[in-house]
Subunit: 394 residues, 2 copies
């Protein structure tokens, strides 16, 4: 936070120029057993400030008692308000964010008191938007409880809700003050949710981290089966590497002011179409996996990855129980969705595709056509080993 002013004159007359700089600091803690009544981490992050703690009904079912006990034990002198918020991706709306802000208002939260989200990406998005708006910005703290939250949605600087039929139409860049990562929450997650989270880790590994890709190839299936309890070192390592990789990528362009060329957008060009067209029967992670498969197939077609590398990527997706194709795909609609992206990006597509494993290139619309998409989708659908993917799809 700072501002400088200068007075300039142009041919239109006098002008004042005010330059401002808003500085933020976000701390990401790697932790264990954060709800243990003898673990002061969460309480120390909140300090003596009042707080509003928001979580979903399923978190309430599994952890509600421990959460309440924790805050009572660790913060006897500060006021902690609890709010159970039932939301899904489809109801990730501004109304949900407003209901959190209203609760903050009723609880009398000051401008420096944090809103704490314990949950998945939907919960952190809603709470992030609420925190950005409430009294022009109150701090927020994320405690992700899903794999996608741990490695992606919970650690970034941006939040959004859907509006007017448009995904992430409204939101803000309002970095969380603290993010507290505890893989222990994964033990109570449905396997399908963990699989979806793996899509984001595979995304990152494929375009930016060969070493992580190798760890995934060797251990992802076991970690999925054991819900990140086994092999312990590999489970920790995957989260650790994914978080660091994600932060390294985001840090270069935290407010997305530069351009649209971002490695972390791999898997996120076709996926909004799949999510929407499937009426959210495909989760975000499942749609990302299908996008990764299609993008990798395109990369192979233009010679950026070998058949062997393509096989490694597709096999990894299948190894964590994710589909490579969605049988409901309309090539026409998929192509139209690309055209609409290009329109919104002033003519740029910047489709991220792998270039060998651990690197990437950006393709523009001219490199693609409905025919190319169709033939890539065909190859994926009729891939000898893709039966597992096809069976789960749709």
């Amino acid at each position: 936070m700072a501002g400088t002013t200068s007075v300039t004159t142009s041919r239109h007359g006098l002008a004042l120029r005010v330059e401002s700089r808003l500085e933020r600091c976000q701390e990401i803690h790697f932790a264990r057993d954060v709800l243990g009544t003898d673990n002061p981490l969460v309480a120390e992050c909140l300090g003596g400030r009042d707080a509003l703690v928001v979580f979903s009904p399923s978190i309430d079912r599994f952890y509600g008692r421990r959460i309440r006990t924790y805050f009572a034990a660790q913060r006897p002198d500060a006021s902690t308000e609890f709010m159970v918020l039932a939301r899904t991706e489809e109801s990730k709306t501004i109304d949900a964010a407003l209901s959190v802000a209203e609760r903050a208002c009723t609880a009398g939260l000051s401008r420096t008191s944090p809103i704490v989200a314990i949950g998945g990406g939907v919960c952190s998005d809603i709470c992030g938007v609420a925190a950005a708006l409430y009294r022009r910005g109150t701090p927020h703290v994320n405690i992700p409880t899903t794999l996608i939250g741990l490695v992606d949605a919970g650690i970034g600087t941006k939040n959004a809700v859907n509006h007017a039929g448009r995904k992430s139409c409204l939101g803000s860049f309002h970095p969380p003050e603290h993010v507290i990562l505890d893989g222990g929450f994964l033990a109570t997650l449905p396997r399908r949710s963990i699989a979806g989270g793996f899509a984001e880790i595979i995304k990152l590994a494929t375009v930016s981290d060969r070493a992580l890709f190798d760890v995934l190839t060797d251990h992802a299936a076991t970690a999925l089966r054991s819900k990140f309890r086994e092999p312990e070192w590999a489970a920790s390592k995957m989260i650790d590497m994914a978080v660091r990789g994600m932060i390294d990528q985001l840090a270069e362009n935290l407010f997305e002011i530069r351009d649209y060329r971002r490695k972390v957008d791999f898997g996120h060009t076709f996926s909004p179409y799949f999510e929407t067209a499937s009426h959210h029967t495909l989760s975000h992670g499942e749609a990302v996996a299908i996008d990764i498969a299609l993008s990798a197939e395109i990369a192979a077609r233009v010679g950026l990855v070998t058949g062997h590398e393509l096989e490694a990527i597709l096999s990894l997706i299948e190894a964590v129980g994710l589909a490579l194709v969605w049988p409901g795909t309309s090539v026409c609609d998929l192509w139209r969705s690309l055209q609409s992206i290009v329109e919104h990006r002033n003519g740029d597509l910047h489709l991220v595709v792998p270039s060998s494993i651990g690197n990437c290139e950006y393709l523009e619309l001219g490199a693609l056509s409905p025919q190319v998409l169709d033939s890539c989708l065909e190859r994926l659908a009729h891939r000898p080993r893709s039966h597992c993917g096809r069976r789960r799809a749709g």
Copy 2:
């Protein structure tokens, strides 16, 4: 915009620290006849970008045709969408901001396309909140058409709407990219609106600019009568000095991160009570004037201003047709409103009061009591020359 990351270890284990810096630039142009079809300023500020231009029904009545003609003439190649938005302070709601964002969405506005507010403080607040939210932040441009907009509401970094019964409950610090100031719009304003705007100029002059106070003393009444057409030099000078003074004050603490000690809060401690208690029959500026009078009376009581200085302040308020008291005042409720401010500011009140003319001091709750407020209000109500004020009040 930039980010740096560092890895630290604490007694709780490993932590990643992400520091980010968001840089903004706001240009404030002093201009004339900005809707003249040969004046390229507004068009140049927008560049070739599409834009959504929002204004009130009254602006539409007086300037609608000129606005549409201007954009057609100066921006033949860019798409300009127009939206007429009927709002008052009471309906300055998140729904209004959402309706602007929805229109931006329908118009297909990209993340770099600006939302332009032509109007008073309510219009710029609503559009500012819409711009902050739409696609996580799109630029906005303010063309204030009221005196309060020109010298205060339109030039700051912050925007807000009322929610859950709380004034400015939701909002953001999202500085406008350009502010275009043209005093010519004042010619079509009701005199009461201009008088309200004077309250903000008197506020600034009283606590930070003795020279501006003297210009006001000599010329404010004439400027009010002539709607800023006469005396021309003094009318320009008042706006110019007020804007520069305001920006100098704001620039020190643009995002209000430091503390609550801000000179520009003079006149804004009691005024929310007056606005709310009068059910907005008092305008913002009228409430600010009453706050200034009370704060000055308190300052005289504790010896910070002389009787002569107090008289100069009160006479200036009356000279622009503003009241010094509101007959509906409940001392009890006024006192309670102070206590609630103190609660929200962690025990601080920081009531700004003049200390001679052109300087200020901050008083805390301990320096006040219901009895002190009551006796100050009594003195104001029975002041020999306050008949003009009392007649207008309520």
